[in-house]
């Protein structure tokens, strides 16, 4: 059986610091605007196109 691993003293403080740094990493404002604008475009494109008026379909 493998001997249990022991951690490195200081690891708990270091881990908290690392998680804080990770939380502080953010995309730029222009990237956020890009996400929104692209999604709006997709929404616009996915809207059903106006169907032909009934009279146009009459033969």
């Amino acid at each position: 059986m493998k001997k249990p691993e022991l951690g490195i003293p200081g690891a708990f403080r270091e881990s908290a610091k690392r998680f804080t740094e990770l939380r502080e990493k953010k995309p730029s404002e222009s990237e956020v605007v890009e996400i929104i604008e692209k999604a709006k475009k997709r929404k616009e494109q996915s809207r059903p196109k106006k169907s032909a008026r009934p009279r146009d379909l009459e033969t």
């Binding site: 200081g10 270091e14 939380r23």
Partner: protein
């Protein structure tokens, strides 16, 4: 007989143990609190964790603890990301999204003002996802996650294992377990004490381990009578 040892008396407790412990279980709440500086138990958690390492007591964990820790971090990351998304994109966001995110911001502020940290619930996350998809447009949520969360959780557990030396017990026969881990035993704990499934799975493996104590902050385990824990509980 169980014994609850406050974190402040941990050093004394270790001295009283008849022999040096082969290891101990550390519950999700200690690992999470120690990683999250705004957590109300942050200081205690870091001090306890560091004391374990200084006394060279190996830390053990299982699949439930790993999955719970990642889940808590996901909820923190998404909560904070939603507020950043509002701050950076509010001029471009539909009114309904702005209002929903502002209301979330207020809840977070109120929570911080009362001295506690704020964790978004899974329900709130799903509600935000549905709102993004219907109000902003299809695919928004996926793009939001990819930009704000990215690979932040990917190496999270490996780092915990590598630096804190967390050892993994998966229920297979081991010199650290006194009997096999059975589902039926975990279910019995749920039925007897009304605890949650995840808590029961952690408690079940701890009760079958050779370890004298578990470090946890879960109050329901600490009830003096009846108490499912026969070994020491520290926090």
């Amino acid at each position: 007989v169980s014994r609850v040892v406050p974190a402040s008396q941990f050093e004394w407790y270790l001295k009283e143990l008849p022999s040096p412990p082969q290891g101990c279980f550390v519950d999700t709440n200690l690992l999470f609190a120690a990683d999250y500086e705004v957590h109300r138990l942050y200081d205690e958690a870091v001090e306890l964790g560091e004391a374990l390492l200084l006394h060279r007591i190996p830390i053990f964990s299982n699949a439930t603890i790993r999955s719970e820790l990642l889940e808590l971090k996901r909820r923190v990351l998404i909560g904070e990301a939603l507020l950043d998304f509002l701050e950076m994109g509010q001029k471009h966001l539909p009114v309904r999204v702005v209002n929903a995110l502002r209301s979330l911001k207020t809840s977070i502020r109120e929570s911080i003002a009362t001295g506690s940290h704020y964790l978004l619930s899974d329900r709130q996350i799903k509600k935000s996802r549905d709102l993004f998809e219907s109000e902003i447009g299809p695919g928004t949520w996926k793009d939001f996650c990819s930009k704000f969360i990215g690979d932040k959780l990917e190496s999270e557990w490996e780092r915990q294992v590598e630096r804190k030396g967390i050892n993994y017990l998966d229920g297979r026969p081991s010199e650290y377990l006194t009997s096999p881990i059975e589902w039926s035993d975990a279910i019995r704990l749920i039925e007897t004490f009304g605890i949650g499934t995840s808590d029961a799975m952690i408690l079940n493996i701890f009760l079958k381990s050779v370890f004298p104590f578990i470090v946890t902050a879960i109050g329901s385990w600490l009830a003096p009578d009846p108490c499912p824990v026969s070994q020491g509980v520290v926090f």
